[in-house]
């Protein structure tokens, strides 16, 4: 077990290194001057030149690479050790803020939205999927299938827009941004205000996920229920609930442990589209804005942290699978 983890960590480090090189090359070799987008008439050429020197604009790419990751890991160390008086090395070009603490803060904004979305997706799609599989070819199953097909095909951003239109105009409830701006609320009213602002975008964002996962759960369930041992269990007279929930559901839900791997990076990254539409100042929107202003540090940090979290998620889900499924052996 331990040797396996160590070996996997080593492989991860190698993968992460290659990913860092590729993503750095893509971003760093982009033509154009990052300072050109923020030309300040008050600034002299010499000032710009000094700034270029500071961010190492003319440096060879290798030096830029080492420079960036050197700063990144120093800052990361400061985050981990909660170093108070630390002077942050990695500062964004446009907002002049330290990148890692900002990222931490933005992740805090994104987290409730993504958490609720994920909860809705997982809590809704399992029961619905299982229900639909158990009542195959009934009217309700067909209805579920039709709805999930339609939801998958819905452009998420469009439905988000429609719902904003409906709720803000018809019901008169403001739902854009994490909380109602410009109004001081207290006690339960504040709580409900926050709840509205999280719940509606989260439900809208979860629609596609619910549809996809429901269909997947149903497919898995159907596949398992075609197996011989289920027929045997039925034939020997076990009651239906024991057959379905004890013998069928456990093996059917194993693949979903693997899907947990994707959860970690998505918890972190959130949804660029929904944050843009619902004006959540979270990570996704931050990244989108950084892309528009060509803020290399933010883009690079996001790419790297996102990749690292993906790898960690895969590792964790593999380990979990080996715990849950006794047939899986780590090697």
């Amino acid at each position: 077990m331990l040797t396996y983890i160590v070996r996997r960590l080593f492989q991860m480090a190698l993968t992460l290194f290659i990913v860092s090189v590729i993503s750095f090359l893509i971003v760093a070799l982009a033509p154009g001057d990052p300072l050109a987008s923020q030309l300040d008439p008050k600034k002299k050429d010499a000032d710009l030149e000094r700034r270029r020197d500071e961010i190492g604009y003319d440096d060879p790419v290798v030096k830029k690479y080492l420079d960036f990751y050197g700063k990144f890991f120093q800052d990361l160390g400061a985050v981990i050790y909660a170093d108070d008086g630390y002077a942050w090395k990695l500062n964004s070009e446009t907002a002049k803020e330290p990148v890692l603490p900002t990222m931490w803060r933005k992740a805090g904004v994104t987290l409730p939205l993504v958490l609720v979305t994920t909860l809705v997706v997982w809590c809704l799609s399992f029961p619905v999927g299982i229900y639909s599989a158990l009542r195959r070819n009934t009217f309700k199953d067909r209805a579920i299938t039709v709805i999930s097909y339609t939801l998958i095909a819905f452009p998420g951003f469009w439905i988000a827009l429609l719902i904003i239109g409906f709720i803000t105009k018809t019901l008169g409830i403001p739902i854009v941004s994490p909380e109602t701006i410009g109004v001081e609320l207290e006690g339960p009213r504040e709580f409900f205000d926050r709840t509205w602002h999280v719940a509606i975008p989260a439900i809208v964002a979860s629609l596609t996920g619910v549809a996809v996962l429901t269909r997947y759960v149903k497919g898995q369930m159907l596949e398992v229920m075609d197996q011989d041992y289920i027929r045997t269990a039925k034939a020997k007279g076990l009651d239906a609930d024991t057959v379905y929930y004890k013998h069928a559901l456990r093996p059917a839900s194993l693949p979903f442990v693997t899907m947990l791997a994707g959860l970690l990076p998505s918890l972190f990254g959130g949804s660029v589209v929904f944050e843009a539409i619902y004006a959540w100042p979270g990570l996704g929107r931050w990244f989108l804005e950084a892309v528009f202003t060509r803020d290399i540090y933010i883009v690079m940090t996001n790419l790297f942290v996102g990749s690292a979290l993906t790898l960690i998620g895969i590792l964790i889900s593999d380990l979990m699978l080996s715990v849950v499924d006794p047939r899986v052996r780590l090697s």
């Binding site: 893509i26 010499a46 020197d53 290798v62 095909a153 790898l311």
Partner: protein, 819 residues
């Protein structure tokens, strides 16, 4: 006895199952409709050509000029032109601007453009994007997955792996700005590749060798063609010269910058240094040498640009001369069409007469609407009559010819006049350059050593001053001649007005002032040079010492300032030079009426480059595989070089995993941020970031097929790999690929619309559904149809593709066959 089942083909079975699946059938017909709309959208939508435009198109076709217009001849609907009287009309409403003609089935948007037309035009782009993006991802996925599945177990030989790694590292190092190690890697990699080519030839793998040779020959011929264009055409020469100047000045700037850094470090390490430096003392030798280089480097940069200016001036004149000759040719060409014009003119005049008569009759009968329509027809014939007027054509021919002749005479004059000054100027530049080089080589490391060589250095400095003054003089002379010529030209053309002439006269006065100044500078320089000579003869050190110009030394803050200016100057010059080169090419393209120059510098022609490089990679891989096969079969002595290393499967799948690790949405956004907004780039990026799933399941499919008896027996029979893949594996693996491709199109359409919605997918003039939705977003309360209609279109398309994909999956599922 049970009834014998008729044997049925798998395809028939699949069709039968598919036909039973009603949603899939409906989806199929919806998609057929969409495909029809997409196919017609390119032809039947567009800016509508009005009567004058149509006549102009016909004329262009007749006389063969490349008349470019956005208008489409047979456009049914117009998605582009705004109609400000018709903004925000709901669906099913009549036009305010043209109540009788236009009816908006789906309403209009904030600019009064027809939503139906935009939807129609958008269906073309959206569908093309969906299919091409999936095409890219499927091709990549199938080839990588197929290689990993079929050849996965064979292990890559040591030499092959080394070649691959060296060439990869070459690319990375080159991109990283380390040319020397990069080219060492390249050389080693090429040597290994050539060795493998030799082995393949020894092993008589002629097919692979021939393929490689053909591809390399193709590559070489393109390079040679580029070289030819660069050296043989004036445009190409200017372009190449601009590129060279850019490179050289860039290197020079880098060197200057490094000195600046060193100075800064020196200043920071000991703050007193700056004071001493400003007081002119204690200058370290290296700093002195560095400053000298900076001074001289900047002057050399100026000279480079001056050289380029000269070349530009010359090439521009030659080009204008050619244009003038072309104009005369054009006049001659047009003469052949006078009769055709006369015919059309006569016909149109008769038609107009008839239409007018008809109109009068209709009005007399009080059929006003019909009369008005007839009047419009008459006016269309009038446009035809006026356009195809033989007299007007004759006048045009005469004018074209006259202008061509005048221009030719003028540019000949200019070229003649410029020849001598340009020569003088070029010589002056060369002299100045040599003089600067000499100072640099004199090895002066401080004022002392510069003084020790004072006569020598001073001689150089003054020669340089004289050369540059002569250069200024030549420049002024040239300008005066050119201005005089243009003033004469202007005077001859009275219609031109006095404003232009006054401006020219002003410029002439300025140039004359510059000339006087330059003359004086030349005289001064000559005088001072003679003074120096005299002083040298008299060997009067004091006199020379007084003559010695102070070599200004700047502190480092000044240097930073200077570098800032330099960079700006450099950027402007570089851009001008490049732009000039490109403009010259563009003009040449228009001139020839063809795209002969499209292949010029194929490094700038994206598609050709990509294809060629891909071909080159494939050819190299073929050679490597062939040589490895040769060694395993015959040349066992070379086994050590082909020591098995990592397996092909590992190589491909690790790469796939790495690509899967990067969050796709972040990757797409980061890549799109680099490029200009363009829906086709978006398409490429979507394709290039979505192949990993296909690779994985194609590999799995091939792995399981490989173990099947029919493939094993085919291998046992000794069939070639190519035949096994093509005849046995592809037909069996194609159906899941088809299904995943169908679902992929839905995903790509959705992805494109999402990116366009976020404002990074499509350009403003590329009508895609996502863009329409994004534009309608602001009017979601006032004009809800602007978001509903494209949204529903996307929904239906994606749903249809999904249903079709599911239907295909069911139809191809072997478990359901024969039921």
């Amino acid at each position: 006895m049970p009834q014998q089942r008729k044997p049925s083909s798998p395809l028939k079975d699949a069709l039968r199952i598919f036909a039973r699946n009603k949603p899939a059938l409906v989806a199929f017909f919806m998609l057929a409709l969409l495909a029809a709309s997409a196919a017609t959208g390119a032809v039947w939508t567009g800016k509508r050509a009005d009567a004058a435009e149509r006549v102009r198109m016909e004329e262009a076709k007749l006389v063969g000029d490349n008349y470019k217009t956005e208008a489409v001849e047979g456009a049914v609907l117009d998605p582009v032109s705004p109609e400000l009287k018709d903004t925000f009309l709901p669906p099913l409403s009549n036009s305010n601007a043209h109540p009788d003609e236009k009816f908006y089935w789906l309403g209009t948007d904030h600019l009064g453009r027809d939503v139906l037309a935009r939807l129609w035009a958008g269906s073309t782009i959206s569908l093309i994007i969906g299919f091409l993006a999936v095409g890219i991802s499927i091709v990549l996925g199938i080839s990588l997955g197929g290689i990993a599945g079929y050849f996965g177990r064979s292990r890559v030989g040591l030499i092959v792996l080394a070649t691959l790694l060296l060439l990869l590292v070459w690319g990375i190092l080159l991109a990283a700005g380390l040319p020397l190690p990069a080219w060492i890697c390249f050389g080693l990699g090429m040597a290994l590749l050539m060795a493998q080519l030799g082995i393949s030839a020894v092993g008589a793998r002629w097919k692979s060798v021939a393929f490689f040779v053909v591809v390399v020959a193709l590559f070489a011929s393109f390079s040679l063609y580029n070289h030819h264009v660069e050296t043989a055409t004036p445009e190409g020469q200017v372009y190449a010269e601009a590129a060279r100047t850019h490179r050289k000045s860039y290197d020079e700037l880098l060197a200057i910058r490094d000195y600046g850094r060193e100075v800064k470090g020196w200043e920071e390490s000991a703050p007193d240094n700056l004071k001493n430096l400003n007081a002119g003392k204690d200058m370290p030798e290296w700093l002195y040498a560095g400053q000298l280089r900076v001074e001289i480097g900047t002057r050399q940069l100026d000279l480079q640009v001056a050289r380029l200016d000269g070349a530009k001036y010359d090439a521009g004149n030659q080009q204008n001369l050619r244009l003038a000759r072309d104009q005369q040719d054009r006049a001659e060409h047009l003469e052949g069409f006078i009769d055709a014009y006369a015919d059309r003119n006569k016909e149109a005049a008769e038609n107009e007469q008839e239409a007018m008569a008809e109109r009068d009759r209709l009005f007399k009968e009080d059929r006003r609407d019909e009369g008005r329509a007839m009047a419009e027809r008459a006016s269309e014939f009038a446009i035809r009559k006026n356009t195809f007027d033989p007299e007007a054509l004759k006048a045009r021919i005469a004018k074209t010819r006259a202008i061509g002749q005048a221009n030719e005479a003028y540019y000949r004059k200019v070229i003649d006049a410029a020849a001598d000054p340009l020569q003088t100027r070029a010589e002056a530049i060369e002299n100045a350059d040599k003089a600067l080089q000499k100072i640099l080589e004199s090895g002066a490391t401080n004022d002392e050593s510069l003084r020790a060589r004072q006569f020598e250095v001073e001689d150089i400095l003054r020669t340089w001053a004289q050369a540059s003054a002569e250069f200024d003089l030549a420049d002024a002379n040239l300008r005066i001649q050119a201005l005089n010529a243009s003033i004469e030209d202007r005077k001859a053309d009275a219609a031109e007005g006095d404003a232009g002439l006054a401006e020219l006269n002003k410029q002439l006065a300025a140039a004359k002032g510059a000339k006087t100044k330059a003359e004086k500078a030349v005289a001064d320089a000559k005088e001072s040079l003679e003074g120096l000579k005299k002083a040298k003869e008299e060997s009067d050190a004091d006199v020379a010492g007084k003559l010695l110009a102070p070599w200004s030394v700047q502190g480092s803050s000044g240097l930073v300032d200077r570098r800032g200016k330099l960079r700006k100057a450099y950027v402007i010059r570089y851009e001008t030079a490049m732009r000039y080169g490109l403009t010259a090419l563009h003009v040449a393209e228009e001139l020839n009426g063809s795209y002969r120059y499209s292949f010029y510098r194929f490094s700038s022609h994206f598609l050709t480059t990509t294809m060629l490089y891909l071909l080159l990679v494939v050819a190299a891989l073929t050679i490597m595989a062939a040589s490895q096969a040769v060694v395993t079969d015959k040349l066992k002595g070379l086994r050590l070089a082909y020591l098995p290393t990592i397996s092909v499967d590992d190589l491909v799948m690790r790469f796939t995993e790495i690509m899967l690790t990067v969050p796709v949405i972040f990757l797409i956004l980061a890549i799109l941020a680099i490029f200009e907004k363009d829906v086709y780039i978006t398409m490429g990026v979507i394709g290039l970031t979505s192949w990993m799933g296909t690779t994985r399941f194609v590999r799995a499919e091939i792995l399981s097929l490989r173990e099947q008896d029919f493939v094993q027996s085919a291998q046992a029979l000794g069939l070639s790999d190519f035949r096994i893949i093509w005849r046995h594996l592809v037909p069996n693996a194609i159906s899941p690929v088809l299904v995943s491709a169908t679902l992929g199109v839905a995903g790509a359409v959705l992805a494109e619309s999402t990116l366009s919605f976020l404002g990074i997918g499509a350009k403003a003039d590329q009508t895609t559904w996502g863009l329409i939705l994004s534009e309608g977003r602001e009017y979601i309360f006032d004009a809800p149809w602007l978001t509903w209609i494209p949204g529903i279109a996307i929904l239906i398309t994606v749903l249809s593709f999904n249903l079709l994909g599911e239907g295909l999956r069911e139809a191809f599922n072997p478990k359901l066959r024969g039921r």
